[in-house]
């Protein structure tokens, strides 16, 4: 605890013990005090509590870092190597593979669907012998820590519905995001930081054009305190965090002390437990004002750590910066850390932008896993890397116009990887056919993925429900099977 925090904690306790506090509803006061005392004695902040009876069983992962690659990276150019495709280069993709499937309107009307093999070369890495694109040397270097799921499939073909589906289990906005479910069920260990933090970054040229809709991290019908708090890429990471210009922390402290005093007095008369909650809320806001700047201060990071994350790490709002922030948030007990990176929607710029995207994301992603591992955090942190769908094995565009080659959205088979808490390292789960088109082994539906993430957190996805509009809702709707094959 910093001296300021200690003082703040002391002040709160003193205020609660002061005789004016008698009016605060007994139960609420007891619970607030208990939290506060726990925080003081164990040094562990308690934050928002989870539900009674959760976790349902011992969790393998205490927290999640989800590196969502928005726009959808092409599985065939990254991890799912299909050498057989070379034989069909430039030829019409066999109708038997295509099977009348639906694509976005960008290629739905395209007359030819010509096979486009990987635009990069692949090599095998590590003891596991995983094939990884040459554009991803850093992730290749940690291949033995990763579990590749090459048999993902989803239902949506457009970005926003697909991301919403991945995160909330529904293509339409309005359901709680995975991080909201996790904090609702499990609470958070961090008292001075939100339990569900979201960070966004984009490729440097904004080539992707994807927007980060706030329903991606919404709390849906869960109380809004469970919605993700977006740390911004510029200025105050948390909106309204800074005191107004000209109001020092000392002036603020005094203001809050008097405010608490007046509120307590009022509480004595009105006996509404809400007033005690209000006092605690203002105190936590004050603490957050100190803890967030401490969180974003990288000055104590070792140079070699910073180096590991690559040249973008000090640029607020970059993917590398967010990856390092993710580690720091994980250390501070944040339950669910969601990093969105947009830049992968290569409909017509596969030849130019794909390589750049790989470079921007490869090193920081790998560094995060290494960094967590070095600190012993990887054992109970689940790291997820992947897009909202894959990209087509066939070409979008004119085969002669190499500079404008692209791939369309492909929901029928794609790859993500997971690492850390409870995940079997160095394996590949599932497979697609020789064209990387359809899943041929161990299919993993998005709901299965969600069930598995919840399982790792010690949550039975069928039992974490919320009643809304007369129905018990859950993240996985009425589906979802745990993917046993990826579990350690």
């Amino acid at each position: 605890m910093t001296p300021q925090q200690a003082r703040a904690a002391h002040l709160t306790r003193r205020q609660f013990f002061s005789k004016s506090a008698v009016g605060i509803g007994g139960a609420a006061l007891a619970s607030l005090l208990e939290q506060d005392m726990q925080a003081a004695t164990s040094g562990l902040p308690t934050g928002i509590r989870g539900l009674e009876g959760l976790p349902h069983f011992a969790p393998k992962a205490k927290r999640v870092i989800y590196l969502l690659q928005n726009g959808a990276p092409p599985h065939l150019d990254t991890f799912d190597w299909k050498p057989e495709m070379e034989k069909f280069r430039g030829q019409e993709i066999p109708a038997s593979v295509l099977g009348g499937k639906r694509f976005s309107t960008m290629t739905q009307g395209q007359k030819q669907k010509l096979v486009l093999p990987a635009i990069t070369t692949f090599k095998q890495y590590g003891k596991s012998g995983a094939w990884v694109s040459d554009y991803l040397p850093h992730m290749a270097g940690i291949a033995d820590d990763l579990c590749f799921v090459k048999s993902m499939h989803t239902e949506a073909v457009n970005h926003a519905p697909a991301i919403s589906f991945f995160l909330s289990g529904s293509e339409q906005p309005g359901r709680p995001s995975m991080g909201a479910w996790a904090t609702y069920g499990l609470g958070t260990e961090s008292q001075n930081l939100p339990g569900f933090v979201v960070m966004t970054s984009r490729d440097k040229e904004s080539s992707c054009g994807q927007i980060f809709y706030d329903f991606y991290w919404g709390s849906g019908f869960l109380p809004s305190k469970y919605q993700g708090v977006r740390f911004r890429g510029s200025g105050d990471p948390v909106l309204y965090l800074s005191n107004p210009d000209g109001m020092s922390r000392e002036v603020r402290r005094g203001l809050l002390d008097d405010l608490a005093k007046l509120n307590e007095e009022h509480s004595a008369e009105y006996a509404d437990p809400e007033i005690a909650t209000r006092i605690a809320q203002y105190e936590m806001a004050y603490k957050m004002q100190a803890s967030v700047p401490e969180l974003t201060d990288f000055s104590k990071e070792k140079p070699e750590t910073l180096e590991m994350y690559g040249p973008d790490v000090m640029r607020q709002g970059s993917f590398a910066y967010n990856c390092l922030m993710a580690r720091r948030l994980a250390e501070r007990g944040v339950r669910f850390i969601q990093c969105f990176h947009a830049g992968w929607d290569h409909h017509s710029n596969l030849s130019t932008q794909f390589k750049i995207q790989c470079r921007d994301t490869d090193q920081p992603s790998a560094a995060l896993v290494r960094d967590l591992k070095q600190r012993g955090l990887l054992d109970d942190t689940l790291v997820i890397w992947g897009g909202e769908f894959g990209r087509t094995p066939f070409l979008q565009g004119d085969i002669k116009d190499v500079k404008r080659w692209g791939r369309d959205h492909h929901p029928y088979g794609f790859t993500i990887w997971m690492a850390g808490g409870g995940i079997k390292p160095g394996i590949t789960h599932g497979a697609t056919d020789d064209f990387g088109f359809n899943v041929v082994r161990d299919p993993v539906h998005v709901h299965d993925f969600q069930a598995t993430v919840m399982h790792l957190l010690g949550v039975d996805h069928e039992r974490l429900t919320f009643r809304f509009q007369g129905r018990q809702f859950r993240l996985t709707d009425i589906h979802g099977k745990i993917v046993k094959g990826v579990l350690a």
């Binding site: 904004s206 706030d214 890429g233 000209g246 006996a271 209000r278």
Partner: protein, 1044 residues
């Protein structure tokens, strides 16, 4: 008042009976635990057994294979009982794998219900409400008698007070509430202090707090504890507030949330739409106290009324408020179907309090609704004259033109300007054509005047060096590199342009004294090699073609910067000490937005070290491409041919070139284009809004398999759910029939659902807590008779909304003080029994309005286009990659009511919390407390500025007496005077703030400079700053934040 106490024993007896009640006790258990497999959904049904209906081939009362699920009066003979009590893991119900279990008590309830005869009932909400008799003193006596069985002492106590308590009700509401309370051994709380009641009424009915003068007026009217006077004062005040234009502004908020109203479409691009005409219509309708049935009909089907007025067409905007998805690659029909579904579900939630979403894919699991009935309802909304696409500036057809006369005049004037400019340009062109021979002659003599491309230096938004060099924007728009000098680098430059059509870009590479050898690059000799250049426009790759470089080093031509190879590039050695430029033509069109994002990636990846630009500048032009190049040889070739020998093609080539390069004509055309775009802007800014209008030929409606837009099941026709009253047989198959059906007096839901929402607004919780779900799985009403009485009163009063509001807020129930009686926060945390007045934090939008009002900054202006108030920098830009910029309004716009704040759907106003995201229909928003909320009201400019303005009011109120000032500020915020302890705490706080700001005048000056309104210069800075801090404290008092 006596009249209300006519005895009605019958109404109460049912409630007192200890018998198991199907509706209250049994059906909730069955629906929660059994309906998944034995409910309305035919596809999911198991064992041919239904527990949601009494009769039919799958009735639980039938005997088949000697098994009867429910045998009335015989629990031993009822298989249901056996199956729920068994310990056999294979037989037990609900099955283990369902992860549902019945508690022992629940099992006993079901068993007892069967033993008592298994009386079946229909779900309460599907039976039309009858007006229950208002409980009288005898009913109260019965309630006390019932209580006596459990608590004789308390019953005696209440019996002794009964005559006094019987005087408590002020209207029927109170009689129902009191009867319920007595049965629970409770009594009402005393009436709130007049000033507290005054504030509560103002906030509830107008969304704004009373001024001290208004409080004084009310206190005077109340007299000194004279009950009759006080009643009269309350009635008078309520009448005044109901008549205030602020009333409609306050009441519309929840309606906006229900209607998913916003000022943009949502999704990619998130274009702006103009639906605020509908918002203003709704405010006016509420202020005019339009009957709720009419309010309904006009919004759902105003266009189908005979000779609809313009207002009635605007009203139909209700069902055009949903999101519109214009994402690239989106299938319009898929979107259209989604909009239809949205309308069905919104209608069901708002009017019927029913949840229909699940019927998109299958029969309802709990309520008696079939999937086919969902699609029958959807038929009413399926024939709109819409495509699912986005037609014009965020508006999708059908669009209503509502040009106001003055706007019309302006557009006409601009049209005249446009025509004049076009005529001028045409005339000039004609004249020039006649003068072509002179131009040809001049050209041959090399004296022709050719136009020059007009270059605009780009407004750089952001720069990045991949390898860590420092990029600094210079005053002349160029970018200078310094700091780290990596061996190779890639520079990314992004900018926003408003140019409508970019034809070419120019890169200037400029020498600078700070660079090696005063060159233009960062290599030792001041040199550079541009190995590749890439450009994106509106996120799409742009094909570039080299036009010219003013110099090219041998072997390093401009073409080399576009050949996709890093080893080669454009360079100008050895002339690095001189400025050079290169021009590229764009071969790809891009962008439809006014603000377009462009980005450049300049790569310096040759083998040679540090050959990176040192200083450069990028410009763009929209001039015709003809001006980019010197006169092409083909033109001279044609010139060489004698006039009469030229063929058509040659003549055209020459004339085209002449006209495209003629400076006067270029200017004239530019002016014409400008006039046109100005007219277009006015046109699109003109009053156009979305409305409902059906196609000439209705679409066929089908069941959609799993709700998918392209998977048709059976065809269905218009219709309403069978469990609800039927439509009149002669009703036409259109929305008007649907609207009339919704508000027909027989409809069991609409009136109940609506009054329940009003109740929620005033008391923080509906009589039915699940305001969005009156189905089997919804909560039961806490006071069903009161709900039904209010519903009937609503219908029979002629759907008089203000009448219902008046009844509620003049009731003794509402007027109770909100102090929590001992033990009640544990016993009744949600205040279901209403033994105290409502107390909860104000909605965040009302907090802002209140802060503006108490500070005196508030601007009353009503209606009109939305305003953009203070918002932290970069919020929109962050969310949209800089493509959508927030341009805040100034002046009075900053101080208008929250409901007028511009609502961007993909990222709503940041200063609100616990509000609907306006993405879909919401009839209940949460009330939570997070530290982030406290940060808003402590740190947002809005509140800090309001605090300063409030401080000024305090300082001007009394120039000498601190205590009087503090009391005044406190009273502005809470409507009451501070007590002694509070006054002391405030005084001590002020003293401390004074010391702090006297010691740091600069800080004080900064604090009071917050916001755009100017502080009064006559006030001493430390004094104003100290009072500002004090005022900020007052604005954050729990009492200020709370309606109590």
């Amino acid at each position: 008042m006596r009249r209300l106490f006519l005895t009605s024993i019958a109404a109460v007896t049912a409630l007192l009976h200890a018998e198991v009640d199907f509706n209250r006790d049994v059906q909730p258990l069955l629906s929660e635990n059994c309906y998944q497999c034995h409910g309305p959904d035919a596809k999911a049904r198991k064992a041919k057994l239904r527990l949601d209906v009494k009769d039919g081939p799958e009735s639980p009362f039938r005997t088949e294979d000697e098994v009867t699920a429910i045998k009335p009066g015989d629990s031993k003979g009822s298989d249901l009982v056996a199956r729920i009590f068994t310990s056999d893991e294979d037989d037990v119900m609900p099955p283990l794998k369902s992860k549902r279990t019945l508690t022992q008590a629940q099992k006993e309830t079901l068993k007892r219900w069967i033993e008592e005869g298994a009386k079946w009932g229909q779900h309460w909400a599907f039976v039309a409400p009858k007006r229950p008799a208002v409980p009288g003193i005898a009913d109260c006596g019965l309630r006390i008698a019932d209580l006596r069985k459990r608590d004789a002492k308390r019953a005696d106590d209440l019996q002794a007070q009964l005559l006094a308590l019987a005087k408590w009700p002020k209207n029927a509401i109170d009689s129902f509430v009191l009867a319920r309370q007595l049965g629970e051994g409770l009594t009402p709380s005393p009436e709130a202090a007049p000033e507290k009641l005054c504030r509560r009424l103002y906030l509830d009915l107008t969304g704004l707090p009373p001024t001290p003068a208004e409080v004084d007026e009310f206190l005077r009217a109340c007299g000194n504890g004279d009950a009759a006077k006080q009643d009269a004062a309350v009635t008078a005040l309520v009448d005044k507030l109901l008549a205030s234009p602020r009333y409609g502004e306050r009441m519309v908020w929840e309606w906006l949330e229900a209607a998913r109203y916003a000022d943009t479409n949502g999704y990619q691009g998130d274009p702006v739409r103009a639906m605020w005409y509908w918002r203003d219509w709704a405010i006016k309708a509420l202020n005019d106290n339009m009957r709720f049935d009419q309010f309904t009909i006009e919004q759902i089907a105003g266009d189908l009324l005979p000779e609809p007025t313009q207002e009635q067409l605007v009203a139909t905007g209700f069902h055009r408020n949903h999101m519109i998805n214009g994402e690239g690659g989106r299938i319009p029909e898929e979107s259209r179907v989604e909009y239809v579904q949205d309308r069905v579900e919104t209608t069901a939630t708002v009017w019927l309090g029913l949840t229909f979403t699940c019927c998109r894919c299958h029969d309802h699991k709990y309520d008696p609704f079939k999937q086919s009935e969902y699609y029958s309802l959807s038929a009413y909304f399926n024939s709109l004259d819409e495509t699912g696409g986005n037609d014009s500036n965020g508006l999708a057809n059908p669009i209503l033109n509502l040009v106001a006369p003055e706007q019309h005049k302006k557009i006409e004037a601009l049209k005249v300007e446009e025509d004049k400019a076009a005529a001028g340009s045409d005339a000039l062109e004609k004249k020039l054509r006649e003068a072509q021979p002179e131009w040809e002659a001049a050209l041959l003599k090399n004296t022709a005047k050719l136009g020059e491309p007009e270059w605009q230096v780009i407004k750089v938004d952001d720069t990045i060096s991949e390898n860590g060099a420092t990029l600094t924007k210079q005053a002349d728009g160029s970018i200078l590199l310094s700091g780290k000098n990596p061996d190779s680098d890639e520079l990314v430059v992004t900018a926003i342009t408003q140019m409508s059509k970019v034809s070419a870009i120019r890169i200037e590479v400029l020498p600078d004294d700070s660079l090696p050898d005063k060159g233009s690059g960062r290599a030792q000799d001041g040199g550079w090699i541009l190995s590749e250049i890439q450009m994106l426009g509106d996120s799409k790759p742009i094909n570039l073609a080299p036009v010219r470089a003013d110099f090219e080093q041998s072997g390093s031509t401009l073409q080399n910067a576009l050949d996709g190879r890093n080893e080669t590039g454009w360079s100008v050695g050895p002339q690095f000490g001189k400025p050079h430029e290169a021009v590229f033509e764009l071969q790809t069109d891009f962008g439809y937005r006014a603000d377009k994002l462009v980005s450049f990636r300049l790569q310096f990846l040759s083998k040679e070290k540090q050959r990176v630009f040192g200083k450069f500048r990028i410009s763009m032009t929209d001039s015709p491409a003809a001006l980019l190049r010197p006169i092409p040889p083909e033109v001279y070739a044609v010139l060489a041919v004698p006039v009469d020998k030229r063929d058509d093609k040659q003549r055209k080539k020459l004339t085209d070139y002449y006209l495209a390069s003629e400076p006067r004509l270029i200017l004239a055309k530019k002016l014409t284009a400008a006039a046109k775009s100005e007219r277009k802007a006015a046109d699109s800014g003109a009053a156009r809004t979305m409305m409902m209008r059906d196609r000439a030929t209705p679409r066929d409606t089908f069941i959609l398999v799993k709700g998918a837009y392209d998977k048709f099941g059976d065809r269905v026709t218009h219709g309403t759910p069978a469990v609800l009253p039927a439509l009149p047989p002669e009703a036409p198959k259109n929305r008007l029939s649907l609207a009339r059906w919704l508000v027909s007096p027989e409809n069991p839901l609409t009136a109940r659902v609506t009054v329940n929402r009003y109740w929620q607004m005033f008391f923080g919780r509906g009589l039915v807590k699940t305001v969005e779900d009156f189905g089997v799985q919804g909560d039961k009403p806490t006071n069903p008779e009161l709900l039904d009485w209010l519903a009937r009163e609503f219908i029979e009063s002629g759907w008089d909304v203000k009448h219902i509001h008046r009844l509620i807020v003049t009731s003794a129930t509402y007027r109770q003080q909100s102090k929590v009686p001992p033990g009640m926060s544990e016993r009744d945390p949600e205040n279901q029994l209403l033994a105290r007045g409502p107390r909860f934090r104000l909605p965040s939008w009302m907090l802002r309005d209140q802060a503006l009002a108490v500070s005196g900054l508030f601007v009353e202006k009503m209606g009109g286009a939305p305003v953009k108030v203070y918002q932290p920098k970069g919020v929109w830009e962050d969310a949209t990659f800089g493509q959508i910029k927030y341009s805040q309004d100034h002046g009075e716009a900053l101080y208008r009511r929250s409901l007028y704040i511009f609502w961007r759907r993909i990222i709503g106003p940041t200063l609100f919390f616990d509000v609907s995201s306006r993405q879909n229909c919401v009839v209940k928003t949460g009330r939570t407390n997070t530290p982030l909320h406290a940060l808003v009201t402590l740190n947002d400019v809005t509140y800090v500025e309001a605090a300063r303005a409030l401080a000024e009011r305090m300082l001007k109120f009394n120039t000498t007496d601190d205590a009087a000032r503090l009391a005044y500020g406190f009273r502005l915020c809470t409507a009451r005077m501070p007590n002694n302890t509070e006054a002391q705490t405030l005084a001590a706080a002020l003293t401390r703030f004074r010391e702090q700001y006297r010691a740091d005048k600069d800080a004080g000056a900064m604090l009071i400079a917050t916001g755009e309104s100017k502080p009064d210069a006559a006030l001493a800075v430390p004094e104003l700053a100290a009072h500002t801090s004090l005022a900020l404290l007052l604005l954050n008092l729990d009492e200020t934040l709370t309606k109590e």
